[in-house]
Chain length 308, copies 2
């Protein structure tokens, strides 16, 4: 079991920030990553549609000899975590609960901000997860949808990390106009006196230095990517399913979009060269979603994710 891989998926490249943190925390673990670039972004989509994507991709990954399934996308977690946990034979973890838990632990004044896509913020999943852990914490949320395209644009610009960043940072270059827009998004959160801000989208760690600059040094940023990696490490350790850290891992990367572009931009996010990216067609994905699994979609349409 410890030689099985960790399955990870996202709407595109953002989840590679999670994969990067997992590879760093667990260097002996093999990863299988699917980026659904052809249907990116998930953020503005109807949650029911995203739930169907979760079933399709989760089924595909379940067939790749994995021991753990990671939904490395906040929108997909908000929409389909509960469903995936019921549907698949491997344990499934999302990125919302680890981020919420870290925020509850970190906040001192008990005022926590969350930024994410429209889908994630409107689902209320972070507020619910934080309040389930500590009903004394107040959550201030803001949708910052344009951050995804800015992070992707930064990747395409390929100017390299900004000066002054740590060498191991995945941060991308942003245009000066970013800061004005970011202030519009973030100033209301700042004024509400938060001391902790959850980056509730797996693209956002690519902008963390710029976001930190806007919110100021007194607000602690929480990266769901990092927290999720820690949670996976703890879970595998408790189950005695860890790969030895000195084992050479075999990573596989797949995309529904352009394999060459995924390799080029993805390597930048993952922090290491990505070779031999597999192309998975949407037809191949859809074929994995059996009638049994799709029937679960109807059962889960009634807000079952509210506590997840």
């Amino acid at each position: 079991m410890e030689s099985a891989a960790i399955g990870i998926f996202d709407s595109g490249l953002g989840g590679l920030t999670v994969a990067r943190e997992i590879a760093r925390a667990l260097p002996g673990e093999s990863l299988v990553y699917l980026g659904d670039t052809a249907r990116c972004p998930y953020g503005p989509r109807d949650l029911g549609e995203v739930r169907r994507f979760v079933v399709e991709i989760g089924s595909w990954l379940s067939h790749q000899r994995i021991k753990f399934l990671v939904i490395a996308c906040n929108t997909a977690t908000a929409a389909g975590l509960t469903l995936a946990q019921r549907a698949f034979p491997v344990p499934v973890i999302g990125v919302i609960e680890p981020g919420a838990r870290a925020a509850v632990m970190a906040t001192i004044n008990r005022r926590v901000g969350v930024i994410g896509t429209v889908g994630t913020i409107e689902s209320g999943a972070y507020s619910a997860a934080v309040r389930a852990l500590d009903a004394g914490v107040t959550v201030f949320s803001a949708a910052t949808p344009r951050f995804v395209e800015i992070a992707e644009e930064g990747l395409r610009l390929d100017i390299g990390p900004m000066e002054g960043l740590l060498a191991d940072s995945a941060d991308v270059f942003v245009r000066p106009s970013f800061y004005e827009m970011a202030r519009d998004y973030l100033n209301p959160l700042k004024r509400s006196g938060i001391d902790t801000l959850v980056l509730g989208c797996t693209h956002y760690p690519l902008l963390s230095a710029s976001i930190q600059q806007v919110v100021g040094p007194n607000v602690q940023l929480i990266s769901s990517a990092h927290e999720t990696a820690l949670e996976i490490a703890e879970t595998l350790a408790r189950r005695d399913q860890l790969a030895p850290p000195d084992r050479t891992p075999h990573h596989r990367f797949a995309t529904t979009g352009d394999a060459e572009e995924f390799a080029r931009l993805g390597g930048r996010v993952f922090g290491a060269t990505i070779d031999g990216v597999e192309k998975v067609t949407l037809e191949a994905l859809t074929a994995h979603a059996t009638a049994d699994l799709l029937a679960l979609l109807d059962d889960s349409a009634t807000g079952e994710t509210s506590c997840a």
Copy 2:
């Protein structure tokens, strides 16, 4: 802030298993413990009544210069955690979420058992907490109310730990008749194929070796006491509020019952001598529950703890 104490309370002696684990994980931290022995046990009581006790004792502890409040009692956590998190100026942690989280991480076959008092089991708080973390885990619960009196009786017998136990175990001696009763309680859980069993009452770690003998070696026991201590350690570390581990702590112990008996039996559970136990009268406790706080009791009577 790091010199403030950790406040802890329980219906009596059971919460000292939590205090013991906190003292072991965080040897530099000072503790203030209140055991509400005069009103023990909480398990068979109405949850509304227990909620009032939480307000009274939480208020008393909030006045003792604490940085953290621990509800070291599963029944009181199920009844009043959410309320306490809203009511008090310090962060409040209960014993249910840490135990549920550890069980979700530990289970491989995704079948988790929980034992606790009637109040804890009937509240459904463990099932809700487990499902919120992993909707793919099935929870099998059983109330084992007589375990509390058996643990207390074992303490009073004062025969010392059973042969073969680790030297640092807090386990008490149990009569041979315990095993028959325990099999009646636990065999249905065993037959349901659980691989993990949460000791959902802070008295139960005193019986862990005996319970392990009944459920067999293939079921992993989860001690909420231990898990709660780990969570407190992680939280204080993230907040940079840890006392240096080489600081000499100043523990205070108080009881609403007999101070001499509390010192004698409590020292056995805590694993160290308990000196100068303070007697706190019920009148003194009640005086701390202000009208403002008691008003919260009405607001929280509608099952707000379901996700906690």
